[in-house]
Symmetry: C2
Subunit: 201 residues, 2 copies
DNA sequence: TAATATATGGACCACTGGTCAAGTTTGTCC
DNA sequence: GGACAAACTTGACCAGTGGTCCATATATTA
């Protein structure tokens, strides 16, 4: 039926402009300051809009962070789905996994504070109402990683181990190394871990 | 010399009593509520003291959480230092590591919200002033784990991998499984990881 | 141009961790 | 016992947070 007949009228032009202004302002602030210093009010001020507008557009601070993160993750998602191996389909699971984790690490090193802010935002949620798994980026990453693990080693607890591997990135001591640009070291660590876990060297 | 002649006069009796009251109240609240709902004010009220007293005794919210965590970690530290194998000295590094991670997982499953609160408190720190590594419990755990790894596989980046293994526990999806009592599953995951990483099965 | 849906901003709210000066309690020494 | 200093307690207070609300302004469409 005409279910989505005219259900979603496009965002008004000024609204779209503000959305961009807010995203870009938040991005810029996060490049220069640790996440807990980037308050919604500061973002609003930097974007030249009122605080209410930010909440209007993104629902919450967490919503803003998720959106920002999603922007960054989209490219990686493409590469995984339809790009060339080893990131994309075609290579062995082990190689794909190593490549994927390296890519995530690199993404983290280029957007250090954002990753932290994203995580922080998810944790500082009102009560435990919305399960943190509701974060779409994490769900996707976890699905991919645990799929590859299951493919290579059906005997393992893939879901759990996928959480473990990804958990690493949310860890402060490691995140700060990431921020310091040490993503190669991290990727090497991942590679060692994954290779000895899934067999082959 | 009489360096510590009378340097540190003991805590006054009433102060010691309050310290205990606060610790016990915080413990109780954390057993029943997620950490972000356990504010310093609530703890103070539950302990029957003024808010100021809590800060006087523990310096900050984070200080309180660290102290609470330290109480729990002390027993484990003892077991590692002088207890029987495989946790204590004597067993192979691989076995000691598997045992240690299982013990930490179990500790976490018995004190779910505390672990989370502890982590949360470390992260929500004023700026990045005090490096999070300043958390003595984490420093100890990391030292132990990375020592064992280095012993078994001198070729690996032990420090990094130790961070990775421990990072797992601070991860929400895993922490919530821990809270659900699934520490056996976690321990098994660790065991698989460690065994295939450090050789032997 | 008029009508209507949408967007805006900032005063306002409840709450947070943290501070501090003023008052109270304790331990010690005579 | 009493006196005195040091240690301790307290709650009003502060700056800041994320989030709400709605009177007002603006874009769109007919």
């Amino acid at each position: 039926m005409g279910q989505n007949d005219r259900m979603e009228r496009r965002e008004r032009a000024d609204a779209a402009r503000n959305r961009q202004a807010i995203l870009r302002a938040a991005e810029e602030l996060l490049r220069r300051h640790p996440p807990e210093q980037v308050s919604v009010e500061r973002v609003a001020a930097a974007a030249g809009v009122g605080k209410g507008t930010v909440f209007h557009r993104f629902g919450s601070r967490a919503g803003l962070m998720v959106e920002l993160m999603a922007e960054r993750a989209r490219e990686l998602e493409q590469a995984v789905a339809v790009g060339p191996p080893p990131l994309g389909p075609g290579a062995e699971p082990v190689e794909r996994l190593v490549a994927f984790l390296a890519a995530v690490a690199e993404l983290g090193s280029r957007n250090g504070n954002l990753m932290a802010a994203h995580e922080h935002a998810m944790v500082t949620r009102k009560a435990a109402e919305t399960p943190r798994e509701a974060n779409p980026i994490y769900v996707y990453w976890h699905g991919h990683v645990s799929g590859l693990i299951a493919e290579a080693r059906p005997d393992l607890d893939a879901e759990l181990i996928a959480h473990m591997l990804l958990g690493t990135l949310h860890m402060e001591p490691i995140a700060s190394q990431l921020r310091a640009g040490e993503h190669k070291r991290l990727a090497a660590g991942f590679a060692a871990l994954v290779r000895s876990l899934l067999g082959d060297g």
